[in-house]
């Protein structure tokens, strides 16, 4: 027999699973439309899978919460979500740094080539 409390937990489980699936489906769709590179989707899928595992397997959440001394088990879900948020942001910072470096090299290449081209044009105009 289900009491009131079990029904509520069951509801939030469905919402959590549904939300995680929706996010993963959205990420998948972005890759399919070539709006997102596979390389950058991995962290999102990882986060989605972990959230689904915790949502489905309630016992695991309680176990981990008990082990860590977290009184209210669902609060752990927030912690896990926050952790993935942080991982994603650090990942973005790394990607941006990499892009900055490549961007710098590209701009410098362009300046050097422009000067080279200008010199070649000037040499061409001069009768040898």
């Amino acid at each position: 027999m289900m009491n009131q409390e079990t029904i509520e937990i069951w509801r939030i489980q469905v919402v959590a699973i549904g939300f995680s699936l929706a996010v993963m489906l959205f990420v998948f769709e972005l890759i399919r439309r070539k709006k997102l590179r596979e390389k950058y989707s991995l962290v999102w899928f990882g986060a989605g899978i972990v959230m689904i595992v915790f949502s489905v397997w309630r016992g695991l959440l309680d176990e981990v919460a008990h082990f860590l001394g977290v009184g209210y088990a669902p609060a752990l879900l927030f912690l896990v979500a926050l952790f993935f948020g942080m991982v994603l942001m650090i990942h973005f910072s790394v990607v941006i740094s990499d892009l900055t470096e490549k961007n710098k090299t590209l701009a410098q290449d362009m300046a050097l080539l422009k000067a080279e081209l200008k010199k070649m044009k000037a040499d061409e105009r001069k009768p040898s």
Binding site: T100, K104, A107, Q108, A111, L112, K114, A115
Partner: protein, 239 residues
């Protein structure tokens, strides 16, 4: 003949650049046996720096957008490296540095005793010329202390952008140079790699016009960024 390249980074220096180029050009008479080329790196200026530099007849490296002083100077190093220059001198585009000191600055490079020469405004006991503002001198003193502990050599003017490098150093810096506020960090980079650094007393002027790239609030960011970079450098892998 020594092939010398003078690199002048310029960001919104339309008022100063022609004069700086002219004063560098005039040093030819005090630099015998030297093949001197001047390159102005236009760091995505919004004003007419590009036109002013081009009409002065020097080589111009025109960056498509603003990279920051380090990115601009490095473009000059890459040019020097590609064209096989023996010595590269970096001199600010705002007229702070007097090119009359060029022969003194490159002397330790030419004689082969040092790889890098830094023009310092604090070495001359008479304290002639522009000594920077009080708060900035505190920062400079802090860099002096930290850097001397790390590289075991006292460098009095870590923020000076008036420097000369030999070809070995040019090759290294063409490959790796900090994007913004590069000067104190470069001292550490080179010191930890056992490049021989000399300091030469020079007299600096207050900027002739335009604005400094480092404002009051930015100074704090500058200090924190550079200190972090110096700290990380100590733990970096050195190739």
């Amino acid at each position: 003949m020594v092939k010398l390249l003078v690199i002048i980074p310029a960001y919104n220096e339309e008022m100063n650049i022609a004069q700086v180029v002219r004063s560098v050009d005039e040093t030819r008479r005090i630099l015998p046996d030297t093949l001197l080329d001047i390159v102005v790196v236009n760091d995505g200026s919004a004003d007419r720096t590009l036109e002013a530099a081009e009409s002065s007849g020097v080589i111009v490296l025109d960056l498509p957008y603003n990279l920051g002083i380090g990115g601009a100077v490095q473009t000059g190093f890459r040019y020097a490296s590609e064209h096989g220059y023996d010595v590269a001198v970096q001199i600010d585009g705002d007229g702070q540095h007097d090119p009359e000191f060029l022969p003194k600055l490159i002397a330790p490079i030419l004689s082969g005793t040092h790889d890098v020469a830094i023009g310092s405004r604090f070495l001359d006991s008479s304290r002639a010329g522009f000594q920077s503002t009080f708060t900035r001198r505190i920062g400079i003193k802090l860099f002096e202390w930290i850097n001397s502990v790390i590289i075991r050599q006292k460098i009095t003017d870590n923020t000076s952008g008036f420097r000369a490098y030999n070809s070995k150093t040019i090759t290294m810096l063409a490959d790796e140079y900090p994007l913004d506020y590069p000067e104190p960090e470069t001292v550490i980079m080179l010191g930890l790699r056992n490049f021989r650094i000399a300091e030469i007393p020079v007299v600096m002027k207050e900027r002739q016009g335009g604005r400094s790239s480092i404002g009051a609030w930015v100074s704090w960011f500058y200090m924190v960024k550079v200190l972090l970079a110096i700290f990380v450098n100590v733990f970096k892998k050195h190739r």
